[in-house]
């Protein structure tokens, strides 16, 4: 166990070292893009819509949208960071092969990647939460747990995409994943409007999808409306997703590296 954690920490440090050279490129995706959504939708569209009686706890549209974006941004960051970068390290640059030639085990590689993903998600979510606070959305006491919820959402997606990415020989399939998986979830999981506004079949389907749970959990914490039972359901859903994704990722990493 000690060796596993120590090696996983090395993998984490390796990613941090690389990130210190390439962090500028990640700013748009992680930070500027959600900020632009918040400004255009939250302030622009928000001025046009009537929210009384539609949004929970009498929230303003900006608060409603901002808390949803916090979760969806983590979904996008978690998915993206586990897509091309993983294929790069597995196939293009073969960095995992280099690590696996040392005492670093497959388990340590996967655990190190998940730890690093969590760290990246904390950076992105914390930065976005600061912007929300600057716009008067939420309070420190509500935003800290909301950041944790958003990070959990990102990890759930990240672990699953990581498992998928490890099966690939190149990155071509990711376009389909983002176009037909991530983007529809972004649009129809209650980030921009309550899912009660969706037509019947989609309205029933939405609560089964992962981003819905991430958004509900994060928003509930920002607004202070989260019930205990709902909290348990959302957290369980996301934690199970992390566990499944991580287990499958471990299995596939092992099959790829130990051949």
């Amino acid at each position: 166990m000690g060796a596993l954690l120590r090696s996983a920490w090395c993998v984490f440090q390796r990613n941090l070292l690389v990130y210190r050279h390439v962090w500028r490129g990640s700013l748009f995706m992680g930070f500027l893009s959600p900020l632009l959504f918040l400004l255009s939708m939250g302030l622009g569209v928000g001025a046009l819509v009537r929210t009384e009686g539609v949004l929970p706890a009498g929230a303003s549209f900006l608060t409603f949208l901002g808390s949803g974006l916090l979760a969806s941004t983590c979904m996008q960051t978690g998915s993206f960071e586990s897509s091309f970068p993983i294929v790069g390290k597995m196939v293009w640059r073969r960095n995992y092969e280099a690590m696996f030639a040392t005492p670093v085990s497959v388990g340590a590689i996967v655990l190190g990647e998940l730890l690093w993903l969590a760290a990246r998600l904390v950076m992105v979510a914390a930065a976005f939460a600061c912007v929300l606070a600057a716009f008067g959305v939420g309070t420190l006491a509500s935003l800290v747990p909301a950041v944790a919820a958003a990070v959990l959402t990102g990890l759930a997606f990240g672990a699953c995409v990581m498992a998928y990415a490890a099966t690939l020989r190149d990155g071509a399939n990711f376009n389909a994943l983002f176009r037909f998986g991530i983007t529809p979830l972004f649009l129809f999981s209650g980030v921009f409007f309550p899912i009660t506004r969706l037509p019947a079949p989609i309205r029933w389907l939405a609560p089964t999808t992962p981003l819905f749970h991430g958004v509900e959990l994060t928003r509930g914490l920002v607004l202070g409306t989260l019930g205990a039972q709902a909290a348990v359901i959302h957290v369980t859903y996301l934690v199970v997703m992390v566990g499944l994704g991580a287990s499958v990722a471990y299995w596939i990493f092992r099959r790829r590296l130990w051949t």
Binding site: A3, Q13, L17, R93, R94, A98, A101, P103
Partner: protein, 311 residues
Amino acid sequence: MPSSEGALVSARRLTKRFESFTAVGGIDFDVQPGEAFGFLGPNGAGKTSTMRMIGCASPVTSGELRIFGMDPRRDASRIKAKLGVVPQLDNLDAEITVRENLEMYARYFDVPKAVARARVEELLDFVQLTDRAGSKVEPLSGGMKRRVTIARALVNNPDLILLDEPTTGLDPQARHLIWERLYRLKRDGATVILTTHYMDEAEQLCDRLVVMDKAAIVAEGSPRQLIERYVTKEVLELRLSPDIRASLDGRLDGLAERIEVLPDRVQLHTADGERALEHVYTRGIPIESALVRRASLEDVFLRLTGRTLVE
């Protein structure tokens, strides 16, 4: 078969199968401490699969493999801690600097930071990259990347160094610099296992080698022994005009132990090339040019791994 007593690596009936394809078909070998041991063979002979099993990166399908007396099935991490691996394709971290690559790799081996720092500077000097230590890996030339990879394989002060085709794809200058560095490692007593399909590389660097072909070992010995065993001392190479070659019709018979007709030349394998050449002149065979050379491992290699021969 030499005894495995005291061997750093010992393999018996070592086999690697990928589904129905047999990459390594039950080979035996031992590598002694301080030895430079080579796997020579054409592409697809099973060299890399063997190296990957020794490096504990690939499970053994059947047979026995012991590295430092340990079983890779149980002690992979402990074995890897004492190995230095130079893979066939560089797998450096391209986005970070040369020095960072080495320091990071030392951490994977749990080398204490202060020790690692001193060791990295030594190694940068050893591979003559001290002046590029702060530059990123990405823009470096192929030869420089290879040197970084070699230095990286040495950060843990390994007891055994595995080099899979260390100079494939490099230009002659880069290749000679790497040979020179590897020769120094060898002289300093390192145990080295390398694969290559370059005969000159095997001749330069290996104390002992095995020739692999189609998943099996087809010959074993020192470069000198193999040359003595499988080829004659000298080779007379004749270049003939195409019509003369077509009408040779046995006129070279009896001039050499073995005559090999190639598309562009004829090779006469003989103990005394000059004498054979005299006979060629005496028989009045018009030749465009002639070259007498010492037989090399290349002749052994081609003899053993194929090219249709005229005996």
